[in-house]
């Protein structure tokens, strides 16, 4: 188990995400998220499908958080917060399940994307998500995106992070 988390952490860093392990407690989660979004003026919180409301609720009081943003606000917000359906150790990816309002938008439109992933949702390889027995087989039924590091391009010559999607990807592994 801890081997998987170690691999996830190392590979996510290799993909230029920032990763931190934190305790799975409301206070720890709130403190950690507050720290990374402290410079963000407008923050949008995605659905907390894969976290308990006990962990999610304190985030709703973060300064700058907009409860029901208009599309115009979404397009100019500074940070989005997601709860991940899964983490993938061998690639350092997070899997975001779409469908509920804001789930896709918070993982794409803002320059900073903060992802909370529960340690027990980390699988070994990308293809494991295609196993019907894995995490209830949800990845086979939902619209999902596997996110590996910030958006990037090499089309302009050197490798540049932050193209159409987020420039920074901050992952918290909840242990």
């Amino acid at each position: 188990m801890s081997g998987l988390i170690d691999a996830f952490e190392a590979n996510a860093r290799r993909a230029v995400a920032t990763v931190e392990r934190i305790a799975s407690s409301p206070a720890a989660v709130r403190a950690a998220v507050a720290r990374v979004v402290k410079d963000s003026r407008v923050i949008v919180l995605g659905p907390g499908e894969f976290l308990s409301s006990e962990l999610m609720d304190p985030l709703r009081e973060l300064p700058g958080l907009v409860p029901q943003p208009s599309d115009e606000m979404l397009s100019t917000a500074d940070a989005g917060i997601s709860s991940a359906f899964a983490g993938i150790a061998s690639s350092g990816s997070v899997c975001i399940a779409m469908g509920p309002p804001l789930a896709a938008a918070v993982s794409l439109l803002m320059p900073l994307h903060v992802v909370l992933v529960c340690a027990n949702r980390i699988v070994k390889r990308p293809r494991d998500l295609f196993d019907p027995a894995c995490l209830g087989g949800e990845a086979l039924k939902r619209n999902v995106v596997l996110i590996t590091g910030p958006s990037a391009t090499a089309d302009m010559g050197p490798l540049v992070r932050g193209v159409h999607g987020p420039q920074r990807l901050q992952i918290f592994v909840l242990e």
Binding site: D71, M98, P101, V145, L146, D155, M156, V160, V163, G165
Partner: protein, 760 residues
């Protein structure tokens, strides 16, 4: 390429040489690419190439994944008509719309009509090479719409009005400096655009606005699952996510070959595609979407929130015809990863504006261009030398050289016959079906016949071969470049020389073998063959030399398939006779060995005969390694490094086809085990590639490819001075000699000098 800068020889624009249905345009495209695009293409493709080796090396079950992917594609293409029907039903049941378009006109017309019906003014596009194939942008623009390419590479191409030069990185030929110059010129801006970050920010701001206001989003799809209607979309920039998520109308355009049975079957491709393409475990974003999406589309103030609408446009455009073609059906397994482009030495040097057509490029590009257009559009596939480095890199195991040899064959048949071809046809006795081929191809494909005469009259023939007027004639009629020194014919062919070699009779030989007298050794570097005999006999092997017959390699590389099959069959029958006697077959020239181990699969009718050949043919050092292993002794007990006359520092370049069949590593290992300090080249191919580098049309390209190898030699000699140059291939040796102007040995020559007699 200094002359290119003079105004009279101003380089062509990429668009003007996109269509290479005639040879002159192909040659102009090569000159253009070498003079302008080569540094960027080299740097970028070689980075992809290195990263791919690393990423695929990290997949513990890489080979098994490739097998799975291949099986899924075989099954899907076999069931394609059913899958198309099933997918149509699935998408309609989900509330989407589906069109199966026979050709580009129908597909573009449908997309235009959907856009017009929605009153679209702005259409935003994610990267889709298939929409390049059908020229969708022209149709939408002609209907008065603005089309915004949102992938940054496509954005650059749209600004520059150029065709893609790579399957996954369409602007790979642009350096940062050239993009800066392009943007400054086209956008008339004073902004500092001197870094990748500044350029990206500039484009991002333009495009963010387009995403937010677009009426319609158009994407491609990497795969489509028939059971759920799921699209797999692979990208790194986020533009495809934006395109599929924000506008109310999403149109996905995909070739029918992208359809597979189930969403679950996408699993092996997920890991293979990123590793084989950009060389990452995964790209930044891999989406699995079954549109229409549930999320409401984006709506800025003043724009009404529309319901989501989804259209899937499936394109045939020649694909069902490819499916019926027993050779080109394999093309449809292609998942457009670009591994065959990045692992190709020629592609690394010129990119897809020379080694490519109007849409598709690289090794697999010819088959796509011919399949979705006209055969003549695939003429650029001439640049596939058959080096085979792409073969092990293809995640669905497509035999790309074989496709290109078939394209060449069909192009030969379609070519005009000239007088020289007629004469050569008579001289070579080429099978009738191969007769319409150009003279140059008949000459190189039947080289053994000329070499046999050359060797018979060696001193005179060598003098003539280097005599100015003769070289002019050969250049003019056979396309043989006069700047190349020709391999000298030996005073005595290997088969004759072997008769004078002492036979060491051993009571109990360690093994029994036959050295196949390939034509390149027999009529070229015969002394290397003699070295093999001496070496093996000293190691106690009962070894004889076969008659010299062509095995078909030269003919195959010229696309003379009937000739190649005839020769391969003859050689196989000859070797069968030795195999029946219990002899192992040693083949010195790696391209001949690769024929027996790989290519003959396509040419021999009897598969059991091929399997036997494949199992019992050996590269000399591979064979020696086995002998040493069998003996239970150490390499040093067989070889005395102190006897080396070339010192202990070596630079070794293995042959491209030798690497593909797994015979390069044993040579490197044996040399190191004996105690040599070996630096191995890491280039995919030396650029000579058999006859390729001898051809006048390709001399500059061949030498430009070779420059990577020459530089590696120079670098390896920076510390501690010169190294003895070793190469296993005949033409690699010629190329290395041409570049370094030094003697090049085959490892067997070195080993023959340091082998201890079995009694020692």
């Amino acid at each position: 390429m200094g002359t290119v800068n003079t105004p009279a020889l101003q380089a062509d624009s990429p668009r003007s040489v996109a269509n290479k249905s005639d040879r002159q345009r192909l040659l102009r495209a090569i000159r253009m690419a070498l003079s302008i695009q080569s540094p960027a293409v080299r740097r970028n493709t070689q980075t992809f190439n290195r990263n791919r080796y690393r990423a695929t090396g990290l997949l513990p079950d890489y080979e098994a994944l490739k097998d799975q992917a291949r099986q899924i594609k075989e099954r899907s293409i076999a069931n394609l008509p059913q899958l198309i029907a099933q997918l149509g039903k699935t998408v309609r049941e989900r509330g989407g719309h589906v069109l199966l378009a026979a050709g580009a006109d129908e597909a573009c017309g449908y997309v235009r009509n959907v856009c017009v019906r929605h009153g679209a003014r702005l259409v935003v596009k994610g990267k889709s090479i298939t929409t390049e194939e059908i020229r969708l942008n022209h149709v939408l623009e002609a209907a008065g719409m603005e089309v915004a390419e949102s992938d940054l590479a496509e954005f650059i191409l749209q600004v520059a009005d150029e065709q893609p030069s790579h399957i996954i990185a369409p602007a790979i030929h642009y350096s940062r400096e050239r993009i800066t110059a392009l943007f400054k010129r086209k956008f008339q801006t004073d902004l500092a655009l001197d870094t990748g970050e500044e350029l990206t920010k500039f484009a991002r701001e333009i495009l963010r606005n387009k995403f937010l206001h677009a009426d319609v989003g158009i994407t491609g799809a990497n795969l489509v699952a028939a059971d759920t209607g799921t699209l797999m979309l692979v990208e790194s920039e986020g533009n495809i996510r934006m395109t599929s998520l924000l506008p109310p109308v999403h149109i996905a355009v995909a070739g029918v070959e992208k359809i597979i049975g189930t969403r679950q079957e996408m699993a092996p491709f997920l890991e293979l595609l990123a590793a084989s393409g950009t060389g990452q475990p995964l790209t930044s974003y891999t989406s699995f979407l079954s549109p229409p999406l549930d999320d409401p589309p984006f709506a800025l103030p003043g724009k009404g929130r529309k319901p989501r609408e989804f259209h899937l446009v499936l394109i045939d455009n020649g694909r069902m015809r490819m499916r019926d073609d027993s050779v080109f059906r394999e093309t449809l397994y292609c998942i457009r990863c670009s591994a065959c482009l990045n692992s190709c030495a020629n592609f690394q040097t010129v990119g897809g504006h020379a080694f490519g057509g109007e849409t598709y490029s690289g090794g697999i590009g010819g088959a796509w261009e011919a399949g979705t257009g006209r055969l003549e559009n695939a003429r650029f596939s001439e640049l596939c030398t058959g080096c085979s480095r792409c073969v092990n890199q293809c995640p669905v195991r497509i035999d790309i050289p074989w496709l290109n040899e078939n394209l060449r064959n069909r192009l030969n048949s379609a070519s005009e016959t000239f007088l020289t071809s007629g004469i050569l046809t008579t001289m070579t006795g080429a099978p009738e079906v191969d007769q319409p081929a150009p003279a140059s191809k008949l000459f190189f494909g039947n080289y053994h016949q000329f070499a046999e005469w050359g060797t018979r009259f060696a001193p005179l023939a060598n003098a003539i071969a280097n005599w100015g007027p003769a070289r002019s004639a050969m250049e003019r009629w056979l396309g043989l470049d006069r700047r190349r020194s020709l391999p000298a014919f030996p005073g005595q062919a290997l088969v004759r020389a072997a008769e004078n070699e002492p036979l060491t009779r051993t009571e109990q030989p360690t093994a029994r073998a036959v050295l196949f007298a390939d034509v390149f050794t027999n009529y070229g570097l015969a002394h290397r063959g003699v070295a093999v005999l001496r070496l093996l006999r000293k190691m106690g092997v009962d070894v004889v030399v076969s008659e010299s017959v062509p095995e078909g390699r030269a003919a195959l590389s010229q696309g003379l398939l009937a000739t190649a099959a005839l020769y391969a069959q003859r050689a196989a029958s000859l070797l069968d006779h030795y195999l029946d006697e219990g002899r192992d077959v040693i083949v010195l020239e790696p391209s001949s060995l690769a024929m027996f181990r790989r290519d003959a699969l396509h040419l021999l009718e009897n598969q059991a005969q091929f399997e036997r050949l494949r199992s019992w043919t050996f590269e000399p050092l591979e064979y020696i390694t086995r002998l040493i292993e069998k003996s239970g002794r150490k390499p040093q007990e067989f070889f005395d490094i102190d006897r080396s006359t070339v010192g202990t520092r070596l630079f070794y370049h293995s042959h491209c086809q030798q690497k593909t069949i797994g015979c390069a590593a044993p040579t490197e290992k044996l040399l190191r085990d004996i105690g040599f300090d070996v630096v191995s080249s890491s280039v995919e191919c030396c650029g000579m590639a058999g006859s390729f580098g001898y051809k006048q049309d390709f001399y500059e390209l061949s030498m430009a490819v070779g420059e990577d190898l020459f530089q590696q030699v120079r670098k390896a000699e920076e510390d501690g001075g010169p190294r003895a140059l070793l190469a296993s291939g005949t033409s690699c040796s010629e190329q290395l000699h041409a570049g370094m102007n030094r003697e090049v040995l085959h490892p067997v020559e070195l080993l023959a000098a340091i082998v201890r007699s079995s009694g020692e």
